[in-house]
Amino acid sequence: MSNIALGRYIPLNSPIHKMDPRMKIIAMFFLLIAVFVPAGYPGYGVLGVFIVSVLLIAKLKLNFIFRAMKPMAFMLVFLLFINILVLRTGYVLVKLGSFTIYSDAIFQTIYITFRLALMIMITTSLTATTKPLDLTLAIEDLLAPAKRFGVPAHEIAMMISIALRFIPTLIEETERIMKAQASRGVDLKEGKFKEKIMAILSLIVPLFVSSFQRAEDLADAMEARGYVPSATRTRYKQLKRTLKDDVMLMVVVLLLAGLIAMAIFL
């Protein structure tokens, strides 16, 4: 369970890691919009070169990126299957009796594969280079203007950071309970359907119980320290925007503009 690659922070020392998380989030948004600009394969080529160079500057191993993409393989197979059944345009590729596969079914799937791969690479370039806590700080800052309209920016950021903080704890707890139940003869892999349901139940109920317990304890501990969600407070860690960040954002905006231009004029 500890080898999940998607969304994991990789502590390295690179220019991308040092950038201001707020600017990285904004840049990520622009890049995600860019993925949906209909500039065709040439557009994806440009975007792909850009994002791969970002990943290389961030010193991330391509192996890691592939592992992050693994979970989508199943989705793509499913998509290919649906496309083959539904899409009936383009020229005929294979004909088996009354069953035909059209070229567009394949091309469409490849196109979407590129799109998904780009999206995963873009989001990974953010999550792998930014500490989860820095991310939440950035989200809080970015949401700050919305405070005027009653959006509880600090509370949202606090909730996200608490949730992130407890993911490893929950994984550890799950492993512990799995082992404890295995000692009682639970077998998550084998057994009949009914036994499997029981096995999952024997895992989920204790997890819920201890999670609620933990939440209550944490709430008490925070209250005991006088935590008031809406209080104004200073921050130990200050986010700083530098010229490098501005240049990076400029490049991203130019890239987006270029892609839009490609979509219109080419």
């Binding site: 309970i177 082992k179 009682r184």
Partner: protein
Amino acid sequence: MPIAFEKVSYTYAPGTPFAYAALKEVDLAIEMGKITAIIGPTGSGKSTLVQHLNALLLPSDGQVLVLDRIITHADKPKQLKSLRKNVGLVFQFPEYQLFEETVLKDVMFGPLNFGVSEEEAKKRALETLNVVGLDPMIASKSPLDLSGGQKRRIAIAGILAIDPKVLVLDEPTAGLDPQGSKAMMQLFTALNRKYEKTVLIVTHDMEHVLNYCDNVVVMREGKCAAHQTVKEFFNDGKLLHELDINVPNVLRFKEKMIQSGMELPEGITDIPSLAKAIAGRIKP
């Protein structure tokens, strides 16, 4: 020898930067029918060691012999269920593993998993609830509504109902009050004497080791640093000092008395007999 470790090594997360060798070529034989304490500082490999006993962890290297079964890293999970029936492992804070609607159902859960019939499981559950000293009245209550000490007893009953030959407990008295932990230790003694279970207890409490255990295994930095009877262990002042062990108060008191010139017989380990011996030395 029905329980033996032969050059057992275990490494967490092998092949990654986080790789950590928790056990290093441990050689150890546990005496059947006795209560063995496993002690050692945090991170010395105690918990890793006991998890090998019912194959929750498979040795990275070497082999574990448990009741005529040899466990190596090549074992398949499928073949291990019968082993878990013979070795019951109670984890730290086992109350977190309760999940059924009623206490009775929760205790029955283990035996049912190992293919015991519904009636037999129910019979065993009621018996074991009695053995761990719980009122059969609570059998129909929800385990989540009970006190911490009761929950722990139910969790232990849940393992006992499987009727294992070997019972392994990882810090069973952690977080209990002194009365509660004393009662808990007395329960294990009774299980050992009356029901002839081999008991292994991971503990930090030297008073418990002295008062309730027969043998002691000292783990240090993933290795077995000592394996002796409790008597030998507490008489080996040099070893105790070397391992930096907190000697129980009775023994420390006795030591001080001997140092200040009082002659006391060997082998006194409890307060009443020490008091008696001292009283016999003091002239009225």
